[in-house]
Symmetry: C2
Subunit: 363 residues, 2 copies
């Protein structure tokens, strides 16, 4: 942990991550094993991993390995969590991973009652361009729609007799038919890249998605004849809600910034965000602010400021009482406006090139 560049600025917002590591049986993120770590890795936003050894070995030895993510083609918005997933995918992609991006149209039909046609339209018009705008290299990415990939379905069926209903329940709480179907399909997706060539692979996710990885690993252990590698996991923290709750969620729209969102709206929300400010201006000037409790600082750290030195400067200025919350929020507003404009422009550009993607063509 010592090699993290801004480790001392670790967030106090969510102390539960240590507990999560313990409860889920994860390993702490081991920064020194990752060459040229990305912003999220350097800053401890990527906080945990699961069984990364073989995947990292393959990566360093330039042997085949894969990284995979799924797109849920439902709402016409993504969120900061998606952004982190894409950034971590891009990291492995840059380091040689075969990159698979699947569109979970079957799952969206099962779980959200969205027709496959609508799902396809959403994905092509919105989610895929967003992923590309957020850093996915479309030239190096293999895309597919679940509903067209029979191999994934076959794997899902084969997996279905390797798991009991009680195991589902233990993992997901409630085991509805549509959830069972979705989970089995995700297992199919996670293992699909290994059908062509058996190789290690990593699934970067928010920690709430770990159950799928755990379940897939259980199934792999019970499918000995297939000789699949156990998939690795890489976990990022949540982007906190603007009111300081653990996770930004669209259920509280005033505390949630969508990607994209009208910059003016985003700024309004930022102005009301929880900070690490003191009770009075005088006290703050004297004692300094508490950036480790500040959502604005967390947004900088996770998303808005790439340069570590710049981030440290803000941290120091806050700590010393030099930078006050009002000014800081103005600054954040500028950055988010810039971010949204760039995102919108890049999404538009990606949308125009959508017919150049590498979709797997299935017979």
């Amino acid at each position: 942990m010592t090699s993290k560049i801004i480790d001392p600025y670790g967030s106090e917002l969510i102390e539960d991550y240590v507990k999560i590591i313990k409860e889920f049986g994860l390993d702490s993120f081991n920064l020194k094993e990752y060459p040229e770590p990305n912003r999220l890795m350097r800053r401890g936003v990527v906080f945990a991993e699961r069984d990364m050894k073989l995947t990292l070995k393959a990566m360093k030895e330039k042997k085949p390995f894969y990284v995979l993510s799924g797109i849920m083609p439902t709402a016409k918005k993504v969120h900061f969590g998606t952004k982190m997933v894409v950034e971590n995918i891009a990291y492995f992609q840059k380091h040689g991973a075969r990159t698979f991006c699947l569109i979970a149209d079957l799952e969206s039909a099962a779980a959200r009652n969205i027709s496959l046609e609508e799902a396809r339209k959403n994905a092509l018009e919105f989610q895929i361009p967003s992923y590309i705008a957020l850093g996915l290299d479309p030239k190096k990415t293999i895309f597919y729609f679940q509903s067209e990939n029979k191999e994934v379905i076959k794997l899902a069926y084969e997996a279905s007799n390797k798991i009991t209903l009680n195991e589902f329940r233990a993992v997901y709480g409630e085991a509805t038919p549509s959830r069972i179907l979705s989970a089995l399909t995700q297992i199919g997706d996670i293992l699909y890249p290994q059908l062509e060539e058996q190789m290690p692979g990593v699934i970067p996710v928010g920690v709430d998605q770990d159950p799928h990885i755990r379940l897939t690993r259980d199934v792999v252990r019970r499918m000995k004849e297939k000789k699949f590698f156990l998939p690795s996991g890489l976990y990022h923290k949540f982007t906190p809600s603007l009111d300081g709750e653990m996770k930004m969620s669209k259920s509280k729209p005033n505390s949630c910034i969508d990607l994209p969102e009208d910059p003016k709206e985003a700024c309004k929300k930022i102005m009301r965000a929880k900070t690490g400010g003191r009770d009075t201006l005088d006290i703050q000037k004297k004692l300094g602010g508490e950036p480790e409790k500040c959502i604005i600082f967390e947004l900088y750290k996770q998303h808005l400021i790439e340069d570590d030195k710049e981030l440290k400067q803000i941290y120091d200025n806050c700590k010393s009482g030099k930078l006050l919350c009002g000014e800081d929020k103005q600054n954040c507003c500028k950055l988010i406006t810039q971010f949204m404009n760039t995102l919108t422009g890049n999404t538009e550009k990606a949308r125009k090139n959508i017919d150049k993607l590498n979709f797997i063509s299935f017979k």
Copy 2:
């Protein structure tokens, strides 16, 4: 019920069928609505139906309707239950039904852990030729493998959010993931013919398969936007075990005749079958036998004697004490030998023409 040709010879073997009709909410089979009824219909072996009205109307008015059955490509044997299903399919096929025969390779992977390759091989080498030998007209039948039919999968996913886990449990008792997946896929299969053209259709089954039909009907009611017709059901009694139990089952091999089976083996089993004979020969000559309690007579009625007059003659001869069990079993043995030889020959012939089948080709 009065128009059944040999109604008075109704079996006493399984009185539970009246209870089944009540419990499952079925209608009694209404023979007079079926033009040119087949042997099973004439003799009350087909004993129940569910919501046949629209299907029969379409049939009589020569409008589109369909009949469908699935092949489980597992063991290299079929049984008398399969024979009855095929005969009822053939009935509707002769009366103009579009006929679909699917190979449940995904289900066999989920429920029986049989690989898709093995399932395909089994179906082509064994089950499909058997179905043809038992009366399916291959020229008028549309075949497909579940694993190749994406539309079925899509329907399964759409169905998954129309049923709760408790409903599954109420229908199937135990709701394992693989059973849930299988049931959802069956729903997809049952409705698939209506994707092309909305039309009524009938699924002929043993009554133990009614849960799938019930569940499909529930789903159709909840998928209003799809405007599917509710599928109809037609139900045949079980072929009883040779020891007189309700259902012939391979779990008791000595009481079960497989299709095909070596005729000598089949004869041996028949010699040990339960009959309607009296305690002593003298009593039997005096009082006559009880064909309604006799498995041999049930085999004649269900499977081995096509001609109603011939069957009645045997019944009368037994009742009068003229035909005794030993002679009768010899006769049954001759018939089963003939049956097995014909079946084997026809299966072999169908196997040779397997490449001429109408498999749906999926893009």
